[in-house]
């Protein structure tokens, strides 16, 4: 069955500390992988996608096909990074997304 696991409901770090939000997926085929973010009082928005191989707001994500993981990383957390983060593989037909339960990131000063 298709499944996405984000093991941490809440991740709390201090400003300037490294951040890693974990994501593991169970999927057949080779899905496109995304991270979406929802800041307080804002709508859900795209943070980054694997195929772009770009860094957005200092975040990067490495796809490990052997471990079926797509962890999100940032070397130095900022207070403005506090938000809910969702890992989401995408199916080809209809661009459907399968969402993990999400991880709340809290960056403390």
């Amino acid at each position: 069955a298709q499944r996405v696991t984000q093991p941490e409901k809440l991740l709390s770090v201090f400003k300037g500390a490294p951040v890693e939000l974990k994501c593991n997926y169970s999927y057949s085929g080779s899905p496109e992988l995304f991270w979406y973010v929802q800041y307080s009082r804002q709508r859900l928005q795209l943070l980054l996608r694997h195929i772009s191989r770009e860094s957005i707001k200092g975040f990067t994500a490495d796809l490990n096909k052997g471990e079926t993981s797509f962890h999100l990383k940032k070397p130095f957390a900022q207070e403005e990074d506090s938000a809910m983060y969702y890992c989401a593989p995408q199916l080809e037909y209809g661009n459907k997304l399968v969402f993990g339960a999400g991880t709340i990131l809290r960056v403390k000063s």
Partner: protein
Amino acid sequence: NAGVTQTPKFRILKIGQSMTLQCTQDMNHNYMYWYRQDPGMGLKLIYYSVGAGITDKGEVPNGYNVSRSTTEDFPLRLELAAPSQTSVYFCASSYRGGVTNQPQHFGDGTRLSIL
């Protein structure tokens, strides 16, 4: 462009009532989606549409209906509201094109309570 617009933002219904959640997008996207998000859970796909006149069930379609008569609009209908349908509902749209999957664009959500 407004992007994806959902109305209403909040609604309280009594058990057994019906209502329609409205969703419209002005980006000329082919694909549209409805999700629900329960507390502590990720978003679950209710229904989706790959174009006008075409709709398909997602993971949790029971108790809901949709239609897609135009490219812009994708309303979600609750016929007999039940407490289990208390949730936050998100509409999204996506462009079909290019060699890779396109990201989805989301509305602000509708918070629905069934009492």
